[in-house]
């Protein structure tokens, strides 16, 4: 399979805009990972710049979660490098992790603690305590409309609000890069849309977002879309560029064509 290059046309515009918006915050080069004899990632390259929302689109089993484990330092890559704000995840994991905020696919909140206690726990793990922690927690909860629920136990919240708490938690230490691993799984359409809008709004503050999903409609609003399938990046570009390159009418059709037929699509 050939990676679709969409450096021309609309994509070039987007690339210039990203470069103008700021530095490369997340850089992945030649990352490979296998589980025994089975390859999960076969040499993945990607970048996320400041203020950019990048959707990582792939069907189940494409390698998205494996990539996220590597980006968060939980797994070690067999080859290649991951850099966060210039810090190599393998050489300086502590510095790299300090610049990342993560919302995992699986919920990692303590259900029996209050919303605020969950955030205090996270803030302290990131070296933020006292008045500064209180201020940042209030800010993050206020931004997500959860200020009134700060004292509630997580168990009492809806699925959508739990996800918002996880997002608030990921923002407490003011990361440069936000990693969202299929964060909308299990949410109703309204909650899904709301969460997506909240994350999109972060672009204005210069946060680079990598949003993994298998839902095409979530990728349509991205600055760039990366299509991952069977451990390989098949295509990347703006949603419009990918649609144009595929000769399809919609991004969903383009995605199906790329991952279904497995044939390369030439740039438009």
């Amino acid at each position: 399979m050939t990676i679709v290059s969409t450096a021309a046309g609309q994509d070039a515009q987007a690339g210039e805009a990203s470069a103008a918006a700021g530095e490369v915050l997340l850089s992945v080069r030649g990352v490979r990972k296998s589980y025994g004899a089975r390859p999960a990632l076969k040499g993945v390259d990607l970048e996320v710049c400041a203020g950019e929302f990048v959707a990582l689109l792939g069907p189940n089993g494409a390698g998205k979660s494996t990539l996220f484990q590597l980006l968060t330092g939980l797994f070690n890559a067999d080859a290649g490098e991951v850099r966060v704000c210039g810090q190599d995840m393998r050489v300086a994991p502590v510095r790299a992790l300090g610049r990342i905020g993560v919302v995992f696919q699986q919920m990692t909140l303590d259900m029996d603690l209050s919303v605020e206690a969950n955030l205090v726990f996270h803030a302290r793990l990131h070296g933020i305590g006292g008045a500064q922690a209180r201020e940042r927690i209030a800010d993050a909860l206020g931004r997500l409309g959860l200020a009134e629920r700060r004292g509630d136990r997580v168990r009492e919240l809806s699925g959508g609000n739990r996800r918002k708490v996880e997002l608030a938690r990921a923002l407490v230490h003011r990361p440069s890069v936000l990693l969202m691993d299929e964060a909308t799984v299990g949410l109703d359409p309204a909650s899904r849309r709301h969460l997506l809008d909240e994350v999109l709004a972060l672009r204005a503050s210069g946060v680079g977002v990598l949003w993994a999903s298998h839902l095409v409609d979530e990728a349509e609003v991205a600055d760039r879309v990366l299509v991952l399938h069977k451990g390989e990046l098949l295509a990347q570009g703006t949603p419009a560029a990918l649609v144009a390159a595929s000769g399809c009418a919609t991004l969903a059709e383009a995605f199906l064509k790329l991952t279904g037929s497995g044939q390369a699509v030439e740039p438009a």
Partner: protein, 269 residues
């Protein structure tokens, strides 16, 4: 790692463990029932069977209840240490450990925080047991209460580190109970917790006696016994400290978050 950051992280992990402990109302009771049964029932029934001669640190004949209290304190620490490691395997399977391990701190330090938090709970439970034992006329001098603190902390950490090491090597929660049977009971019974080691020697159980002298739990119990009597068992303390360092280094070196996650999900995404 900034000291202030390290301190905040320790606070975070400890306060979470304490909150969990308080939430699980029956945990303290269940931790105390076991040693209290040994103290109140077993010791009452067997005090005339197990005659205890004058052995250090004691300078006179002592009731059997007094003899087994250090071993029962060790039992509290041992079970709690293993329970902490069980909780860690559970957290790993549920994905909660991921949050901790993506914090910008060295992995060994995060594990050390877990160890300290578990030890704090162990030592608190040990002192509650000691206070209840006092109600049953087990006399511990005031100096014993003070001397016991560092020994209980060191022993609690050593047994917690052993639990940590086991959790590193246990791939699934289902395997935990079986593993514990091979650890808790042999460690407890092949030790001077219930009878002095010379009795083993005297009865010709030379192999078991040898195993007992190699058992780190033996030294935790003996160090506690001397401490409760206002004395310091230097050799036992040194062995406990050495085992603590060895177990923790092996656990920190072998900890691999990938292992638990792959087992849990069955396949990577």
């Amino acid at each position: 790692m900034r000291p202030a950051h390290a301190w905040l992280a320790l606070q975070a992990v400890t306060s979470r463990e304490v909150a969990k402990f308080v939430r699980q109302g029956g945990r303290l009771a269940s931790a105390l029932v076991r040693p209290l049964l040994w103290l109140v029932v077993f010791a009452a029934g067997f005090q005339n069977v197990f005659g205890v001669s004058i052995i250090p640190p004691y300078d006179t004949y002592i009731p059997y209840q007094t003899y087994i209290v250090p071993g029962l304190l060790g039992m509290v620490l041992l079970f709690n240490g293993m329970q902490s490691s069980l909780a860690m395997v559970y957290d790993r399977e549920m994905g909660v450990m991921r949050l901790l391990l993506t914090a910008p701190l060295p992995r060994w330090y995060l594990l050390f925080c877990k160890l300290l938090a578990g030890t704090l709970l162990s030592v608190l439970q040990a002192y509650v047991f000691l206070a209840i034992a006092a109600l049953f006329e087990v006399e511990v001098p005031f100096s014993g209460w003070l001397y016991a603190l560092p020994v209980l902390v060191l022993s609690g950490m050593m047994l917690g580190a052993l639990g940590l090491l086991l959790s590193v090597n246990i791939r699934q929660l289902e395997n935990f109970a079986g593993t514990m049977n091979f650890v808790i009971f042999p460690m407890f019974f092949i030790s001077p917790a219930l009878y002095p080691l010379w009795k083993l020697e005297e009865s010709g159980a030379a192999v078991i006696h040898l195993l007992a002298t190699w058992n780190p739990f033996t030294h935790a119990v003996e160090a506690t016994r001397f401490a409760l009597h206002g004395q310091v068992a230097v050799q036992s303390l040194a062995i406990v400290a050495g085992c603590l360092v060895a177990f923790f280094l092996l656990a920190a070196w072998g900890y691999d978050p990938q292992r638990g996650m792959l087992k849990r999900t069955g396949k990577p995404g």
